[in-house]
C-alpha cells in the first residue's frame, strides 16, 4: 500500500481546501446581508400583514447558510458517485482570461467617454489582437466591417440610441 505522507489527516482529510475557502467567503457575505436586513425600514404590523419585509430574505439566508456549511465536506459524497469537484479548478485561472476580464472592464469603464461607436471599435480591435490574431487583412476587414455592420443594424435600422461620446467632441 502506498503511504502518501502529504495526504491531509484528521479534519484536513474531511475538508476540501478550496470549498472551505468558498464556504467562509459565502458565510461572510451571508453575515453581511443578514446585517443589511436588520437595517430595513421598520413597518407597522398592520401595513406588513405581519410579514415584515426582512422575513423572506432572512429565511432564504438561513437556508443558504445551512447548505453552505455542508460544502467543505461535499467532496466526500461526490467522490462516492465518481465526481471530482476539483477537476475544473485544478489549473489556476489563465493569464489570458484575467487579461480579457481587465480589458473588458476597462472598455466598459471608459465607454461613457468613448461613446457607443468607439466602444464597439475598441472591443473589435483589442480582443482579437490580445487573443493573438495576427492576420492583418482579416483584422482590418473585421475592425472596419463588424462595427459598421453593428452600427447600421442597431443604430440605423433598429433605432437603438448610441451615445456619441468622444465623436461629438470631434464633430464640434
Amino acid at each position: 500500500m502506498i503511504n502518501n505522507k502529504n495526504a491531509p489527516k484528521g479534519l484536513g482529510a474531511l475538508l476540501n481546501k478550496n470549498d472551505t475557502i468558498i464556504a467562509i467567503l459565502l458565510t461572510l457575505i451571508i453575515a453581511f446581508l443578514w446585517f443589511e436586513t436588520t437595517k430595513f425600514e421598520k413597518v407597522p404590523d398592520l401595513f406588513s400583514n405581519n410579514i415584515p419585509p426582512e422575513m423572506f430574505p432572512q429565511i432564504l439566508l438561513i437556508i443558504i447558510l445551512g447548505m453552505v456549511l455542508i460544502i467543505p465536506f461535499e467532496h466526500l459524497f461526490l467522490k462516492k458517485s465518481g465526481k471530482d469537484i476539483d477537476s475544473s479548478r485544478k489549473k489556476p485561472v489563465e493569464i489570458s482570461t484575467i487579461g480579457t476580464m481587465v480589458i473588458l472592464s476597462t472598455i466598459i469603464a471608459s465607454s461613457q467617454i468613448l461613446g457607443a461607436a468607439l466602444t464597439i471599435i475598441a472591443v473589435s480591435i483589442s480582443l482579437p489582437i490580445y487573443w493573438g490574431e495576427r492576420r492583418v487583412k482579416v483584422l482590418i476587414s473585421y475592425i472596419i466591417g463588424f462595427p459598421l455592420f453593428v452600427i447600421v443594424l442597431f443604430n440605423i435600422i433598429l433605432g437603438v440610441h448610441f451615445e456619441p461620446g468622444l465623436l461629438e467632441l470631434i464633430k464640434n
Binding site: E94, L104, P128
Partner: protein, 490 residues
C-alpha cells in the same frame, strides 16, 4: 378547436413566418457553434424583441429554442464537439458513424428523430397544457407556494456536478429577486442607496452575463484548440426500412423526453442522456454502441427535442420553467406583460396555440435547413473564436444597454459574467440561478399570501392535500441521491 385555428391564424402573417424562420436559422447556427447555446441566444434576443408584437417575439424565441437543440447535434456528429449540452450523448455514436464514412446518414438520423421527438411532444403539449392549466386554476397561494418549492427542489437534479450547489444557486437567484422595493410595504431591500437598484435587478443583463459573458471568459482559456472535421456533403434521410427498425427507440425516447421535459427544471440534457441509456438498454446490438450505432443517435436526439416541447407545458400552464431556455422564454413573457400560468391559457388560448404553431413550423424548418445546409453549418463551427467572441461581447453590451438605455445594466452584465465564470469553476451552475431569479417573485408572493391567509401558521399550509403532495414530492426529490443509491446497490 376554434382557439387552435385562431392561434395558427396569428402566425400566418408574413412578418411572423419570417421571424420564426429567422429564429430557426439563428437556432441552428447557434447550436452548431460550440460555446454558443440557445439560452444564450434567447437572452441576447430578448431586448431586441421587446418592441415586437408579443406573438412574433415569443414565437421567434420558441423556434430558436427548438432549432438550437438540433443545431448542437451537427457539430457533435461532424467534429465531436457538441454545439449544445443536449447533444453530448449524440456525439457518442454520431461521431463514430461519421468517422466510418457515413456523416450524411448520421445527420439524417439525427434530423428525422429530432423532428419526430419534437412533434410528438407538441401533440402532448396541446392536450396536456390546457388540462394542467385547468387543474392549476383551482390552486390558491398555498398550492402555488408548494409548487414553487417543488420546482426549486428539482433544481438539485439539473445537470451539473453537484445537487447541493445547484440548490444554493437557485436560492441565490431567489434572493437576488428580493433586491429592490418590496411590493407589499414599499421598503427598499438590498439597494445600498443605489437608485438603479430600486426597481430591482433587470433579468436581461443578468441572463446575458451568466450565459454569454461567462462563456466568453471560459472560451478565452481555449483559444487555440484544434478540431478535426469530417466532410459532410449533404444530409441523407434514413430509408423507410431503417426507420421501421428504429421506430420503437424513437417512440420510447420521445415519450421519455416529453415526460422529463414536463418535470419542472429538468431539461433536454438529462432527457438526452436517459434517452441514450434506454436505447442502449433495450438494444439487441449493445456492442455496437459507441461505434456508430443508429439507435445511439436517434435515442438521445428524439429525447432532447421532445424535452424541448415538453418543457413548454409547465412553463405556459403553470408559470414554472421546464428548463433553462424556457426560463428565459418565461422572462420574455413577463416582460411582454403576460402572466404565465393557468390564466394565460384560459384567457388567451390563441396565444398559446400560436407558440405551439411556431414550434411546429420550427421542427419542420430545421429539417429543411438541415437538408440543404448541413455542409454550411458544419463550416460555421470553424469561424475563428478570436473574431466570434468579441462579436458576442458587442451584442451582449448592446443587448444589456438597449433594454433600459442604462449603463448600470452593462455593469450588471459584466458582474454577472464574472460571477458566472467563477461559479462554473467551482461547480455552481448558472441555469438554477436564472430559474431561481425568475421563480423568486412567485415564491415570495405565494409565501406571503399563504402566511396571511393562514394567520402566520406555517403548518396550516399542510392542511391542503395538494400542498402536502408537493412537499412529499419535494422531500423525494431532495432525498433522491440517497434512495437511488440504495436501490441501485440492491
Amino acid at each position: 378547436m376554434e382557439d387552435i385555428i385562431k392561434g395558427i391564424g396569428l402566425l400566418l402573417e408574413f412578418q411572423n413566418i419570417l421571424l420564426i424562420l429567422s429564429g430557426v436559422l439563428i437556432g441552428v447556427l447557434v447550436g452548431a457553434l460550440p460555446g454558443l447555446s440557445s439560452p444564450m441566444a434567447i437572452a441576447l434576443l430578448i431586448p431586441f424583441t421587446i418592441s415586437l408584437d408579443p406573438v412574433a417575439a415569443i414565437a421567434m424565441m420558441a423556434a430558436l429554442y427548438c432549432a438550437g437543440t438540433f443545431g448542437g447535434s451537427i457539430t457533435a456528429i461532424l467534429i465531436n464537439a457538441p454545439g449544445a449540452p443536449p447533444a453530448v450523448a449524440t456525439a457518442l455514436d454520431g461521431y463514430p458513424m461519421a468517422k466510418n464514412g457515413e456523416p450524411g446518414r448520421a445527420l439524417g438520423l439525427a434530423a428525422v428523430s429530432s423532428v419526430f421527438g419534437g412533434i410528438f411532444s407538441l401533440i402532448i403539449f396541446i392536450f396536456a397544457a390546457p388540462l394542467l392549466a385547468k387543474l392549476a386554476l383551482e390552486f390558491g397561494p398555498a398550492e402555488y407556494f408548494g409548487l414553487a418549492v417543488f420546482a426549486l427542489s428539482m433544481l438539485a437534479s439539473m445537470s451539473g456536478k453537484s445537487s447541493l450547489r445547484n440548490l444554493i444557486s437557485g436560492l441565490v437567484g431567489v434572493l437576488i429577486g428580493t433586491i429592490g422595493i418590496h411590493l407589499t410595504t414599499g421598503v427598499e431591500r438590498f439597494t445600498f442607496d443605489i437608485p438603479d437598484l430600486e426597481e430591482g435587478i433587470h433579468f436581461v443583463p443578468v441572463l446575458i452575463g451568466l450565459f454569454a459573458v461567462s462563456e466568453l471568459f471560459k472560451q478565452s482559456e481555449k483559444l487555440n484548440a484544434v478540431v478535426e472535421r469530417i466532410q459532410a456533403k449533404a444530409l441523407r434521410l434514413p430509408t423507410l426500412f431503417e426507420l421501421k427498425k428504429l421506430k420503437y427507440t424513437i417512440l420510447r425516447s420521445s415519450g421519455i423526453g416529453t415526460f422529463i421535459g414536463i418535470l419542472p427544471a429538468e431539461g433536454s440534457t438529462v432527457a438526452a442522456i436517459i434517452g441514450y441509456n434506454e436505447a442502449r438498454r433495450w438494444s439487441k446490438d449493445k456492442d455496437n454502441f459507441g461505434k456508430g450505432s443508429p439507435e445511439g443517435i436517434v435515442g438521445p436526439e428524439a429525447a432532447n427535442n421532445a424535452a424541448a416541447g415538453g418543457a413548454m407545458v409547465p412553463t405556459l400552464a403553470l408559470g414554472i420553467p421546464g428548463s433553462g431556455s424556457t426560463a428565459l422564454i418565461l422572462a420574455a413573457l413577463i416582460m411582454h406583460g403576460f402572466r404565465p400560468g393557468p390564466y394565460l391559457i384560459s384567457e388567451t388560448p390563441e396565444f398559446v396555440y400560436a407558440i405551439f404553431g411556431a414550434m411546429l413550423i420550427a421542427n419542420l424548418g430545421f429539417l429543411f435547413i438541415g437538408l440543404v445546409g448541413a455542409k454550411f453549418f458544419s463550416l460555421v463551427a470553424f469561424i475563428p473564436k478570436k473574431l466570434l467572441w468579441p462579436a458576442v461581447f458587442i451584442f451582449s453590451m448592446i443587448g444589456s444597454y438597449s433594454f433600459a438605455s442604462s449603463m448600470f445594466d452593462v455593469w450588471v452584465m459584466l458582474a454577472a459574467g464574472l460571477v458566472g465564470y467563477f461559479m462554473d469553476r467551482h461547480g455552481f451552475s448558472a441555469a438554477p440561478l436564472v430559474m431561481g431569479l425568475i421563480l423568486g417573485k412567485l415564491v415570495e408572493e405565494s409565501f406571503s399570501q399563504s402566511m396571511i391567509i393562514h394567520d402566520n401558521n406555517f403548518f396550516a399550509l399542510l392542511e391542503s392535500p395538494v400542498v402536502l403532495l408537493f412537499f412529499v414530492l419535494t422531500f423525494l426529490s431532495l432525498s433522491s441521491p440517497f434512495w437511488t443509491r440504495y436501490f441501485s446497490k440492491k
